[in-house]
Symmetry: C2
Subunit: 439 residues, 2 copies
Amino acid sequence: MRIVVVGSGTAGSNFALFARKIDRKAEIIVIGKEKTMQYSPCALPFVLSGKIPKLEDIVVFPNSFYERQKIKLMLETEAKAIDRERRVVITDKGEVPYDKLILAVGSRAFVPPIKGVENEGVFTLKKMDDVVKIKEYLEKRKPKKAVVIGAGLIGLEGAVAFKELGLEVLVVELLEHLLPTMLDKDMASIVQKHLEEKGIQFKFGVGVSEIIGSPVERVKIGEEEIEADLVLVATGVRANVDLAKQAGLEVSRGIVVDEYLRTSDKDIYALGDCAEVIDAVTGQRILSQLGTTAVRMAKVAAINALGGSVKFRPVFNTAITELFELEIGTFGMTEERAKREGLDIVVGKFKGSTKPEYYPGGKPISVKLIFKKSDKKLIGAQIVGGERVWGRIMTLSFAAQKNATVEDIAYGETAYAPPISPTIDPITIAAEMALRRFR
Amino acid sequence: MRIVVVGSGTAGSNFALFARKIDRKAEIIVIGKEKTMQYSPCALPFVLSGKIPKLEDIVVFPNSFYERQKIKLMLETEAKAIDRERRVVITDKGEVPYDKLILAVGSRAFVPPIKGVENEGVFTLKKMDDVVKIKEYLEKRKPKKAVVIGAGLIGLEGAVAFKELGLEVLVVELLEHLLPTMLDKDMASIVQKHLEEKGIQFKFGVGVSEIIGSPVERVKIGEEEIEADLVLVATGVRANVDLAKQAGLEVSRGIVVDEYLRTSDKDIYALGDCAEVIDAVTGQRILSQLGTTAVRMAKVAAINALGGSVKFRPVFNTAITELFELEIGTFGMTEERAKREGLDIVVGKFKGSTKPEYYPGGKPISVKLIFKKSDKKLIGAQIVGGERVWGRIMTLSFAAQKNATVEDIAYGETAYAPPISPTIDPITIAAEMALRRFR
């Protein structure tokens, strides 16, 4: 068995490692454009800010680690085409035959066609090289004012990094509030207030129409021109589908796969940012593009490519971030999206403290839970707070993954100790609030 | 409707509050021995250590809070008997008629019949008054060496408090390791090592046979006599069942209730430490005696006593503590108990870090998961680590409450961000370890 993996990122690297654990003999070859195997793209903002001291640190394992496990690496190599009839990947360094082909070709930063977006001082934050370029620019130009386009996760984490580096920061978001796909406005406003207190400024409902100067001097936002000497474009990512398209595989916004992660060609699997998954709430095909999803897809694809049979489960897109000591966790459906899609929901909200009142050091925490009206299932959660948000969003996500209802949360067993959490947890109370509205 | 609650602790106070939320008109009377309504007994060790500055702080709400909600308080009053025929509670201040009677009479510290256990300088740590007495003694006698009898939660939290107050501390436990009902020996040894590094000493497999001197001067452990000028007896609690017994209600180790929390008399409910609940793993009746269980029972009993119908769910006894910055979380079945009870299990263990390797500040964390061999269900978990143990034990507990299998954990969706958690969570890897043993 000869398994060829195209892509050396999180999905491809983890696939190779999982496959090797399952099968000691299979020939495993990874074709990758970069010099190294997987690194954590989510870690880039923290390298930028200096919290992670060295860029090399975020490379998960050295190449030798894979080679010791007899995973053959063809790095700095580009896959140009797939010849499915001959079962061959055509690269810039020759042809590579396969029995099973794994497409883990990832995604790329989406850069909108803004005038001047190619100018010096305009960056994305998707690859290791991006951090190198930004750091060089910071060193050379000593910019004072950053404009971040897009208030998604990477935009906000980048904004925090720039602020920590001493720049003035303005975030411009076309939609109505920050983290627009993850949070509703009520929850987003808590985050916004916190970031504004830390000195980050925001403009919502407007786009950047022009970047002026190279190196950047100003950006045009609506009719207004604003001084800026660094621009970060953080307007999302796009799945890399060209190779799959060329090969005649079924492609939508991402590569289409079945529940075993097979593409329309049963000897070719796709996983990670390039592949579509099923939304656990709506059943629709979506792009998840989380590192955790990539790893989980790799695990399932490795089992299936090597003769096993495990279904990849629909995803809730459980996500977490920390912005200036404020934790933000979410998954699933938001109230705004439910409204857009005409889905009947019941909401439970509660604002409390992370510790019992009598214990010093409690921090504010806000919980918003979204339940489906028809069957009372938990289909979404948003939590913003000073600590222990991650644990709560994990708890709720696993509950939702097991089809928990509003009663399961409201009557659920929690763990309490004075230094750690209140006797009646904020997630319990939020569920009780929702439960009353069901009555 | 006249509802009489006997007991002003966590169960009784919460019952009164929940009942009032459901029914604005019902007459609600609470009979309690103490001067105040509920306080958090779990907080007592932290008052002792000074982390919670004032003892009064742990009283959850002032009496006036209940009175404003038209909950009638009969405090410093002792219920002496129940006349079920006349539907009357007989107290030392007269008779109180009821339509529904709620027994929330709690538990008391169990003090084994050790010679000298009544001597000056020997304490329990169950009630507010215990802290007052210990503090007075610390002030007056300035003891230097504490012996703690019992290495359960209260024993260890007490030991930490004494250590923080500058005393030498020796913990003596009759069983083989610390937290013997919550942890297996492998996990307990991590905690023990941590506490020993902080200067707490341990003796296992031996009991204290005599306490010598009043005030205490020495304790006899096996054949050995050890200097000690303070002794804390933390050998568990016993359900208060005398009142129920006198009234002719069905009583075992605790008051027996059905799944609606009704005693053998359908107009009398029992809840909190005095009542038995169902073990979620074995289906046996057990005493849970956690604050969270008391609150959850109060919620269910309030609904049912006022005409609703909600079943109280079996409990996993999810618990958490923090001992010198080490978090310990557990629920359900241990490996040792499974062996004793002849239950076939599969164990998954993993030791890792709380953060990705490349992110500074990660702390060691050990996860042990117990699955039932026959149906792969998660029936127990033990986690010991430097941070974010609570979130993981909550996650696993809610998963178990929803009948999660080993696959549900191994393939479950987690939330990852570099400052917060690794891409592949320790709980995922521990489940994978178990999954391999199922194959």
